[in-house]
Amino acid sequence: MKMKAYMAFAKKSFLQKSAYRMEHWMGILNTLIRLVIYVEIYRALYGAREAVDGITMSMVTTNFILSLGMESFFVVDDFYLSYRIGNGSIASEMLLPVSFHGRMLADNLGTAAFKLIFHFIPAMLVAVLFIGISAPAGAASMGLFVLSVLFGYGVLWSISFMFQMFSFWLINVWAIMTIKNVFINVLSGAMIPLWFMPESMKNVIKFTPFESIYFTPVQIYLGKITGAEIAGGFIKQIIWIVCLLGIGMILWHKGQKKLVVQGG
């Protein structure tokens, strides 16, 4: 079975992650601090009001808990390729009889599994107990939510994948990644719930992959979208994954020909 090789990579990165305990505890703390800050800002803005534009405070809180929860285990390594090109270890990677992308995904998923168990779950427990979260709109919503979380991760991973391919030409992709991450932070709803975006902004965001990452799953969880809209959300997620991976693969094939192995 071919999967065995990738499982071995995932297991290795899962185990490696457990070596850095302090970083891990700090990570959980980081998630909780951000959560409290975001929630408190909106609590202050809401004041005594029940709802703003039909959005209740508890929906806002739920948006933040879910988005930051997802973010805590949505592992992408923006510098996976550029690091390996930079120090020349790409040569050893290319000698392994596995696909480079598959290996990168397996590494990320191994870490993601670790984060899901040891970061997401504890952080969620604390958040649910001390801040409180709205219940999902129904059992079906919950199921569809989980499915769209998976696709949401797919979109986030594919964006990073595509941008990483510029490493072949630039070697150092720090600047591009920073710009990319600013867009994700602002336009995905993890920092500002997209309900509060001005109408003109919403129309622009509709045509970007960013809302597919965190916001679509949250909408499904809360029952804000139903039926055809849910189907539309899934289709959008899938289209983005296919497009981004497709562009990434084209760049990969072009880049491979340009590859320069540094050192030696």
Binding site: A8, I90, A91, S92, L95, L96, L259
Partner: protein
Amino acid sequence: MSFIEVKEVSKTFKVNKRSAGIPGMIANMFVPKFENKKAVDGISFDIESGEMVGFIGPNGAGKSTTIKMLSGILCPDSGSISVNSYVPYRQRKEYVAGIGVVFGQKSQLQWDLPVIDSFELLKAIYRIPEEMYKKNLKRYTDMLDMGGFINQPVRQLSLGQRMRSDIVASLLHSPKIVFFDEPTIGVDVIGKETIRSFIRELNEKDKITMIFTTHDMQDIEQTCKRILIIDKGSLLYDGSLQEIRNKYGTTRQLIAEFNEDTEVTPIENVMIGDPKDRKRSFTFDNSVVDVNALMHEILGKYSIRDITVTEPEIETIIRKIYNKEVFA
């Protein structure tokens, strides 16, 4: 069709060229200048299955680039490569499953993990059957005497131990071809000897095709029958080591130590050196001058205390080829 076929392969790298200092840096920020550096320039050769071939050439000659193209890492700009009927850079995944590569300057082992864990990971990656894995592991670790450090993390190993581990790692999946890129670099004399005899045995017993780059001529002398000399991206020589010796290693030097200061009369076709501590050197070409007759003449004419004849080191010959003093 040969096992490995390389036809007119070239590879050019674009190198950013900037003048020194801060003005040069600023100029480069706005108008970067690039220079095309031909790392490999139209190389062709064939290698048969089971051969052991040494690649030699000065630093920057294009050896490593050629190895990297042969192993599917780099894509040639022009020309074609076929190994075991695969096109390495096009069928990379399938192709690399059947080859082994050792980069002396870059370990492929997991830095933080014990050696054996890296091996286990490779077993999963290459999907090596359990029996084959056990058999290969036992055989190679015994041959290279690795029992003492196989459970130590790679970062704690000496260079020689790490190199041996890397070599075993490249062989666990029983590859048909192994590329060694400077496998003895920085290894001590005993370590080098172990590695050489190991490589020789694998080639002889298992008929593994091997390609070998090194700067150490002893490596080549003791392992390879055939050598390829590369410089500035082109092939200078392709043939056996013995042939090189026969062709260019015909110079001999006879050194005679006299019992007393003596004037020497010139001898035809022999270059006589200046005296030094009553010693003189007689340099000649042994295809022109008969060494027996020369010795006879010297011993008959003069009172001699000691006499030695030396043959040039292979390194000297190779240096001459690099310097274009002789043409291969």
